[in-house]
Every structure is written in C-alpha cells, then in structure tokens.
Amino acid sequence: MPDTFKPRTAEETRDAVQWASAEVQPLEVVGTGSKRALGRPVQAGHVLDLSALSGIELYEPAELVLTALAGTPLAEIEAALEAHDQELAFDPIDYGPLLGRPAGEGTVGGLVACNLAGSKRLKHGAARDHILGIEAVSGRGEIFKSGGRVVKNVTGYDLPRALTGSWGTLAVATKITLKVQPRAQTEATFVLTGPAGAEATAAMTAAMGSSAEVSAAAHLPAGIAARLADDGHPLADGPATLLRLEGFGPSVDYRFEALKTLLGGRGGVVRVDGDASRALWRAVRDVRPFVGADTLVWRVSVAPTAGATFLADLAETVAHEAYCDWSGGLVWVSIAGADPCANAVRDSVARVGGGHATLIRAPAPVRTSVPVFQPQAEPLAALSARLKAQFDPHGVLNPGRMGS
C-alpha cells in the first residue's frame, strides 16, 4: 500500500517533493482522482494528494481575476463565479461521466495540469489562455512563482502557460490565478438540420468566417443526434449542425437572423434558447453521446476543415462512430473492441495535414501498451525531455504519465 502525503501548505508540499527527490521516490500527483482513467498509468510508490490545499484566496469580480489553492474543487470555483454572473470562458470539459465517474469532480490544479477546454475553446481559448499566474513546487523541491494577477505581463518566461497541459510532470502547482469573464446574458443555438459531412463543414466554415461571432460550432451525425434527442435534447433524428450564439439579447437575435440569411438555404433551421441551449452544449462538451458505452474513445485535434476528411479517411480502415466540435477541429471518435487502432488513427491525422490524437478512454493495460499522447518528432521530443530534466531531474513527478 503506497503512502499518501496530504500537504496542507506549499511548504509541506515542498518538503514532500524534496524528500521524494532526494530519495528518488516517485510521487503520483493527485487532485480528486477525476482523471484517474485518463493518460498513462503512473508508476509511483507514493501519492501526493493536494485536496487539503484548498480554498479561494482572492476573487475580485471587477478585476476579472481569481486566485485559488491548487486543490480547490472546480465546483466551488464555478459556484463562486456564478454568484457574480461570471464564468471560466474556456468552458472546461468534465471528463467524469465519460470515464465512468460522477460529474462535478476535479480540482483547479487538475484543470490547469490537463489544459482543459470545452466547446467555447473555438472563440475563447483553453485553460492556457486564461491562466495568469502560478505558484508551484518543482521536482527539485523548490517553491517558485511565475506570472502574476494581471493580464498584460511579459516579465520573464511564461511558465504558467508552459505548466498548463504538463499533467503534473514538471511541477506541482500549489496556487493558481485565472482570468475570469462576465457570463453572457443570453444565449441561443442555431441548429441547421440536413447537411452532413463536407456540406456540414462548409456550413460551419461559412458561419465561423462571418461576423456572427459564433462561440461554438459542432456537427452531430444522424445516430449521435438521435442519441442526444433520446436524452431529452431538442434535436430530431438526422444530422444536426449546432452554432452557439452568446451575448446581449438584441445582439443574439440579430446574429441569429444573420445566420439564417447566410445558411437558411442549406437546410432546416431550429432555434434552441437559454437553458436548453446550455444543456445541449454541456452534452456536446462532456462527450455525452459516448458516456456509458464500453468503447475506446479518442480525442483528435486537426485543422477545422480537416475534421470531416479525417473521418472519411479513417472510415477506410477502422469502423467507428464520431462527431465534431470546434467547427470540425475537435473530433471525438469511439471505437468498439479492444484495439484502439492507434496507428490507423494517427496515420489518418497525418494524411489530412497533421494534428494530434489522444487516447482518452481505454483500460489501463491498453494505455500502458500504446502511446496515449501523440508521439513527437525527434528534436522536439529531445527538447521536451531536457525541459523535464530541468524541472524534475530525478523524474519523481508522475513518472510515465505522459510517455513511457
């Protein structure tokens, strides 16, 4: 049974990592465990549990800034923001249900470590675009800070962003400062029914290239739209292209009409408002169509217009189900059986102009035997390894999590 260390302060976190580093005792860095089934299983004899390092330290709505200790539950942060009509504009995905866990888990440290983003990433960016400052403990057991609490800052290298998406393999975050945004007063979803494949991509491209300020664009093929309709979302059976509009009421109405003029000729138009729209996008964001199944799930990032071509290419070799978010740039692929077909998936990505594929859901033995994250070209992989060695020379933080 591994030891679990549960530090209550940055200094205790430092002590634990310093000991681990001196004794070369690998640590598994854990927030709440919501992403336990995501990434490569970690090889570590001890667990560093950050859940006691919790609490919002500073929240200034008029300054659009929030600082919290790394183990603070995301749910607590979202509730605090909601009370002031604000939000995290990058719309972090909740991987819980997809990975067979409850919804609403996860910590702000985990959010940053995984660089979460949801459907609104298209317009607002990911967690990396909203982090302002970080305090962390390096794998050497040294406390350091970088960034700050202001949006404009070029004082030194941008370590907060560089640590975002590093899955806890470079440093253990102890405190995080994020930029927050006012929540939109109203929202509506423009649903275009009919077009599929390349035609749907063309519709999304036209919408994104217009001045309608679409904040999210997804395409659901017939079977998947039907599954969300069965869940109670206002969709019919048949392919559906969803365009999200947010903002001040009159502006949303105006932009909805503009989209109708632009796209109305291409298919049927349905308007979904308010809470129904929000719920629909939550389902898209949290990969609701693949929740509960025992398939393997890939998350594929390609250029927006390449999403549909990628799927057509993949269909030649691998049977799958899929849908696109990010105007085609984010593809969720579900594959039945025990074989994740990693090479086939990545070959298709390469053939449509590049990008990357991450194996999001698969049993641990599968995640140990295939690269979960996209393998990198040689000089880049070597540079990443040198960076890891500078932060964590003894390799004590989450060994094996990102690569073998």
């Binding site: 260390f5 205790e12 002590d15 634990a16 310093q18 000991w19 580093s21 001196a22 004794e23 200034e60 008029a62 659009l64 009509d85 983003a117 960016g125 675009d129 390096s138 057991g141 040294e142 350091f144 800070k145 970088s146 609490r149 202001v150 949006v151 404009k152 800052n153 070029v154 004082t155 290298y157 941008d158 370590l159 962003r161 560089a162 975002t164 945004q181 006012p182 929540r183 491209t205 994104m208 290239g209 217009s210 001045s211 502006s251 503009a258 990032s301 250029a303 390449a306 102009g353 991450t358 994250f373 000089p379 880049l380 540079l383 990443s384 960076l387 890891k388 060695a389 020379p393 990102m402």
Partner: protein, 498 residues
C-alpha cells in the same frame, strides 16, 4: 551608456573575427554578411536609443537552412547570436553584443499561406504585423493584436515580445493568437510547434517561445489566427475631472460585464500634448480622458454605448462624445495613437515606461507617481491601456542637462518597483530586455529566477542566444543543475499521511 552594464566582450572571439566572418560568408552568400562598420551602424541600437553597440558582424539569412547553418556554426564555435526583427524593441531586446552575430530575420518577408476557411495565415517572421492584416483584409479578416508600432514591427519580434495593443483587452495578446511556429534551436535543429489545429501537443513550448525575447530559439515561420472584422466599431470620448474618476468608470464598465474592443486613458499633460499635435477635439480642461471603443453587430454596439454613457455620467463625466462616423472614430484615436510623438514635442527627450498594475490600484499608483516626480524633479505624462492596467508613463527629460538621463532612469525604476508593490509586474508588453533586467529581483526570488534560467538551459545550454538580456546574473547551466537537498532525514513528520 548609463548604469546598465552588458557582459564583457570575449577577447578570444574578437580576435577570431576575420575567421568567423569568412566562415559565415561561406554559409550565407552575397550581401547576406555585413562587416563594414558604416553599414553595421544601422543595427547598433533599437528603439531604446540611449544604448548603442556595434555587433561583431551582421548576418541576413534568406532560408531556414541558412539560419540553421549559422546557428550550428555559432554553437560549435561558441559565438553569441542576437536575433533581430525590425528593431523597434523599447527595452533594448535587439541591442547587439560586441562579440556576437546580429542575425536579422528581415529577409523572411513572405506571406506563405492564406487559409480563410481555417481562419489561419502562415507567414515568415519578417512580415510586419500590419502586413498580415493587409494580406487578408480583402477577405474581411484582420489580425487582432495591434501594437502601436504595427506598421514597422515584425511578427517574429511580436512573438519574442508577446506584443499587445488596444485590441488585447477583448481579443488577447500575441500568445492567444498564435497557432504554430517553426523555429531553429541554437544547435541548428529545426522543430515545429502546433499548426492550424487549435491545441499544440505535449509541453506548451509555443507558450514558452512567446515572450522569450530571443533567448530560446529563432522563429522562422509563424501560423496565426485571424478574425472576421467586426460589423461596426464606435468610440466614446469621455472627459473626467480626475484620473481617479476615469479609473472608477473603467472598473464599473468591466463590472457591468462589458468588455470593450479597446479602452484607453490619458492624463492632462498627455491630452494637451496630443491636442496640440493633431487637433482631435479633446477636452483640454479634463483631468483625464477615456476612449472606449465598442465593436460588434450594430445592435449590440448601440445597446452597450447607452450603458457606457450611463456609467460615465454616474462617474462625474464632464464631457462625452460618441463617434457618429468612421472618420470621427479615427479622429478620436488619432490623438491617442500620436501621444508618444506628441509628448516628444513638449520635451527634448522622454523615456517610455511600461508596467502593469491591478486596475483598482490606479488612483493610489498615480498619487504615488506624482510624489516620485517631485522627488526626481521630472515631469511625467501618462497614457494607459486602462482596460488591462498597463501603464505607459512617459518621463520627460533633457539629455543635454547633466544628470537628467540618470534621474529619468531612476524615476522609471521607482515607478516599476511601485507597480510590483501594488501587485503588478515590471513589464506589460515591452519586455525586460536590458532595460528592466536589473529590476527582476524586485519581482522574483532567487528560486523563481533559477527556475526561469533552467528553462533557458534546456533550450540553450551554452547560453549563446541574446546574452545579457532579461536575467540580471548569468548562472552557468552546470551550476544551476546542482541539487541542494539533505538526504536521508526522515522528513515532515507533520504532513498528514495515510
């Protein structure tokens, strides 16, 4: 030069100059290598003109292969390299070093790929910021980050400095608008980060490169995100009795959930200098002037302008005009955009500072700045990116008066220290360069700085790229690699364990 010292040139390298020039000529043919002093003069300073230094030699490569070959040669032969774009850096970031190659990237001036369907453009690093917008405006798009130097500065320099401008409040800085890079490491290896897809994979090296001030690698290709031009843009010109009232108005606008396309403030001295210069119709009697620009669909802009007006009135606005035509909107901006040269007319010299503070600290910081001005016996005009707390105090001085440059520098350092004291940072957009290098310890501990320098070691272990910039003391990488831990003692009996 004044107080800021550059690393001592390496006598051995200076002695090898002829040999180095010959070797570089073999790698970059024709006029790509400049070693005549008169021609090198054009490169001896950037926009921080108080500092000048001739480089060992200037090299202007045209291909990625040439960049790689030059870097590989310099790495193998331990020759320093300073990358350079258009040379508009205000922090001395592109200042040459006497024993190093100045690597100008300005021959990389091609727009390679315009892809409106993916809302992406691929360009070479020497293309100017405005050049990107020019290349796509016929399609209804633009590139959002808009430093005031956008006519001249290169996108490569923008990446190195993470540049920003008026639009950044709503549309983000360079770092939020770059999708991919091709770059050459100091070893001559070429790597690609990101692309037209939205997330780059692995460690976010794109983030590290953006704002790295030429210390980590040389950018040879850039993929940026472009945006559809908003349907309308209108600006409000609002006068206030004091900067404090203006500052409160800014806070209230943001507090109401409104994120303007731009929100800029000027103080009395700057207002009058600008008005003398361009006749923009600014209210001369106002203590502070706020320009608020709203962009988007017309219905939204009209609606929000109404709200902004109401908020301004509640904050004691003494004058308020809303632009009714594109021409008028541009006139409102003309004064702000010309503020620097305008101030240049009321003083023989000025030093442009660049710090950021939390917005709410503005009134206190302004009060303290006034006191500092008295202490140093110099005047200061203020223009701010009010929406994001980025201050640009312009310190007026006369270089011909003995001691005034030194006083201006000391005043500037005090202002930046003040920014840090109020929870802000030393530089918002101009970079650390040489200018703020020695102030870094005001903001960072020894361990903070060590971690930064270790990042440098991962990219450039011999520390040959842009030396003397950003970090006050150069630690050798080997020394930074040492670990100081007490082995064996059973640690932290106090930390809860399970």
């Amino acid at each position: 030069m004044t107080g800021i010292a550059m690393p001592k040139p390496d006598g051995d390298v200076l002695a090898r100059r002829a040999e180095i020039v010959r070797a570089l000529r073999a790698l970059v043919p024709g006029e790509g290598v400049i070693d005549a002093e008169v021609e090198m003069r054009a490169y001896e300073t950037d926009a921080l003109t108080a500092y000048r230094q001739l480089p060992l030699v200037v090299v202007l490569p045209e291909t990625v292969e040439q960049v790689a070959a030059v870097l590989r040669y310099c790495h193998e032969n331990e020759v320093k390299v300073v990358p350079r774009g258009a040379g508009t850096s205000l922090s001395g970031g592109a200042l040459p070093v006497g024993d190093g190659v100045l690597l100008s990237m300005m021959k990389f001036n091609q727009v390679l790929d315009i892809d409106p369907d993916n809302r992406a453009v691929v360009v070479q690093p020497g293309v100017t910021n405005l050049g990107i917008t020019r290349a796509v405006e016929h399609l209804g798009f633009y590139y959002a980050p808009d430093p005031s130097s956008q006519i001249a500065c290169s996108i490569g320099g923008n990446i190195a400095e993470n540049s920003g401008g008026v639009h950044c409040l709503k549309y983000g800085l360079t770092t939020n608008n770059v999708l991919g890079l091709e770059m050459v490491l100091v070893t001559g290896e070429v790597i690609r980060l990101g692309g037209k897809h939205l997330d780059s994979e692995g460690y976010d090296l794109l983030a590290l490169m953006t704002g790295s001030e030429g210390l980590l690698g040389v950018v040879t290709e850039v993929t940026v995100r472009i945006l559809q031009k908003p349907e309308t843009a209108r600006a409000a010109l609002i006068g206030f009795p004091t900067s404090e009232d203006g500052g409160q108005c800014v806070a209230d606008i943001i507090g109401a959930g409104i994120i303007p396309g731009g929100m800029e403030m000027m103080d009395e001295l700057a207002i009058n200098a600008a008005e003398d210069f361009v006749d923009a119709g600014y209210p001369r009697e106002a203590g502070a002037l706020l320009i608020v620009e709203l962009d988007g669909p017309e219905a939204e802009v009209d609606h929000l302008l109404g709200e902004v007006e109401a908020i301004a009135r509640r904050n004691k606005a003494t004058s308020l005009r809303v632009s009714t035509s594109e021409e008028e909107r541009l006139t409102f901006w003309a004064g702000r955009k010309a503020a620097f040269p305008a101030v240049g007319r009321i003083s023989p010299d000025y030093l442009c500072m660049d710090g950021t503070i939390p917005r709410k600290a503005l009134p206190d910081v302004l009060t303290r700045m006034r006191a500092l001005g008295e202490k140093h016996g110099l005047r200061c005009a203020n223009v701010f990116h009010a929406g994001d707390g980025n201050l640009h105090p312009l310190i007026l001085y006369d270089a011909n008066q003995p001691g005034q440059l030194e006083a201006a520098e000391a005043f500037g350092a005090d202002i930046l220290t003040l920014c840090v004291e109020f929870g802000g940072v030393l530089t918002g957009e101009h970079g650390v360069g040489i200018e703020k290098r020695d102030l870094m310890p005001e903001m960072f501990t020894e361990d903070d700085l060590k971690q930064q320098q270790r990042v440098k070691c991962a990219f450039d272990p011999k520390q040959l790229l842009n030396p003397g910039k950003v970090f006050p003391v150069l630690h050798r990488c080997a020394e930074l690699g040492r670990m100081h831990v007490h082995k064996g003692q059973l640690p932290f009996p106090d930390i809860p364990r399970f």
